[in-house]
């Protein structure tokens, strides 16, 4: 199942990215033109996508970490109930969530009318919707529950007694966090960031619905190569280049994180 419907299609995508298109028909070949064109025409867009995915990934992970930390150590008996709510919002309403943000952030949306009623602004803030800001907010909202899970899972293994012991021995809260909590939750942290980062980099629905015409996310270009221009090899090359760039970036990030954690 896994092999036939996942590994083979992925391999085919890689192989096909070297093929050529002649008279709207695929022709097996070995050309790198698709990749050359990807880097020449879409290199900038890939960089922009990675930058935006980095912002979303970092903010989501940071928020998820604080939230999971609070649920684990600061919420007492309410922690389970809050976790339950988070898990429930995980499943359901991908499009509905994006659509909801479109109505919240618009000129006549709830956020703008609310701020105007409160007298904080005089006219609607137009850059809430159809902007990178809208894409970032919407993606964080969608990805936050996914990021909370692995971090909470890692935090559950941290023994509160160790924290107390460290505190009793005179460690300041910051030191306790850096020396005890952070190293033990590193895997969860990396998992959360990886998921949020990769998902944002590959999303094309959010930028299309709330990003406006000026947002250059590579996912929308890849989709249009497949669906509108029917140039599958080009789209495949773009998808693979983007994924490769993302994985490279992730490896660098993880290496940087390891290096910072090792320094004491």
């Amino acid at each position: 199942m896994f092999g036939v419907f996942f590994v083979l299609p992925m391999l085919y995508l890689v192989v096909m990215s070297f093929w050529r298109l002649r008279l709207y028909r695929l022709e097996p070949a070995f050309i790198i033109k698709n990749y050359a064109l990807t880097i020449a025409d879409y290199g900038e867009s890939i960089l922009f996508t990675i930058a935006l995915a980095f912002v979303v990934g970092s903010l989501t992970t940071l928020l998820a970490y604080g939230f999971a930390f609070a649920l684990r150590f600061r919420s007492g008996r309410w922690g389970d109930a809050y976790l339950f709510i988070t898990l429930v919002t995980l499943f359901g309403g991908y499009l509905v969530k994006i659509y909801a943000w479109k109505t919240i952030l618009g000129n006549g949306g709830i956020l703008n009318t609310g701020l105007m009623t409160l007298g904080l602004i005089d006219e609607p803030i137009t850059w809430f919707l159809f902007s990178p800001v809208a894409v970032v907010i919407t993606l964080i909202h969608f990805l936050l529950p996914f990021a909370v899970l692995p971090i909470y899972g890692a935090l559950r293994n941290v023994d509160p007694r160790h924290l107390e012991a460290a505190r009793d021995l005179g460690a300041r809260p910051r030191r306790v966090f850096r020396d005890i909590v952070l190293p033990q939750t590193q895997a969860g942290l990396v998992a959360a960031f990886t998921l949020a980062f990769l998902y944002s980099a590959g999303d094309y629905v959010t930028p299309r619905l709330v990003g406006g015409p000026n947002i250059q996310m590579v996912g929308t270009f890849i989709e249009s190569q497949f669906v509108q221009r029917l140039n599958m090899p080009q789209g495949a090359a773009m998808a693979i280049t983007t994924m490769a760039a993302c994985v490279l970036f992730l490896l660098l990030m993880v290496a940087a994180l390891r290096a910072t954690l090792r320094q004491r």
Binding site: S75, V96, Y99
Partner: protein, 262 residues
């Protein structure tokens, strides 16, 4: 530390947690609220309650077709993903923990890879095999990314399962199937049902992979997509509410009975 400062810190944490919960829930609450509101445009104040958006859906034939497709796909995915995923989880639970963990990471790849890439790879493969796109191609495509959820949930339960119980049953003459039915199933049953419900919720909600593998037809999410690209009719809220009702409802039940926490 002085108590006042501690209490202040606790207060700050609490405000932060409530803020995040509010951030997570508000958009969903608004969708449900406006599905029942008479407003044509989604802004406060509410202009009274109505069921007319749901009535508009009921009169629309495309909605029923999409609902039927969604039901067929979600039902089939529920059955197949659960059967295959449970079998895989049982096999994994007999392996050494390290090896099982490694395999599970590998099997969970489809969840980490952006659905756009998976969807395109599947679309390209179906095209080269000249398979006719439709419900029949969506179902196996959904199995790819729903299976890992089943494996993860059932494996979590089976990790603490005592396999000598099964050996004991077999030693006393129980057939393989009888041992599974009377020993494994009662223990793992709730988790399996929970996993099935989660798989169905994920399948019902999927848009991207469905969009690439269904060809011309519609499921509820692709119908929502076509509505979003045209005008903003409040009927979108009504469909959204139905999808939320099912996905959130089933995940609430699933989490309760499987006691799965992350």
């Amino acid at each position: 530390m002085i108590p006042v400062r501690e209490r202040l810190a606790a207060g700050v944490w609490h405000v932060f947690v409530l803020g995040v919960i509010l951030f997570l829930l508000t958009p969903l609450v608004l969708v449900v609220l406006f599905a029942f509101a008479a407003n044509q445009i989604q802004a406060f104040p509410l202009e009274g309650l109505t069921l007319k958006w749901f009535a508009a859906l009921a009169d629309w034939s495309a909605f029923w077709v999409a609902l039927e497709n969604s039901a067929i796909i979600t039902g089939s995915v529920g059955i197949f993903a659960t059967a295959i995923g449970t079998a895989a989880a049982l096999a994994l639970s007999r392996m050494r923990v390290r090896r099982a963990g490694l395999l599970m990471t590998l099997l969970s790849l489809p969840v980490t890879i952006p659905p756009l890439v998976t969807g395109l790879a599947l679309l390209a493969s179906y095209a080269v095999l000249r398979l006719k796109l439709g419900v029949q191609t969506v179902i196996p495509s959904h199995l790819v990314f729903t299976q890992p959820f089943v494996i993860l949930i059932v494996y979590a339960r089976m990790a603490s399962f005592d396999h000598s119980l099964l050996d004991a049953a077999r030693d006393m003459g129980a057939s393989r199937w009888y041992a599974f039915r009377t020993v494994t199933l009662p223990i793992a049953g709730p988790s399996i049902i929970g996993a099935a419900l989660i798989a169905m919720a994920v399948s019902l909600d999927d848009f991207v992979i469905t969009y690439f593998t269904i060809g011309g037809g519609n499921t509820l999410p692709t119908l929502i997509w076509s509505m979003l690209r045209k005008s903003l009719s409040p009927s979108v809220n009504a469909i959204g509410t139905l999808v939320l009702l099912f996905t959130i409802g089933s995940s609430v039940v699933a989490l309760r009975i499987s006691k799965y926490r992350g």
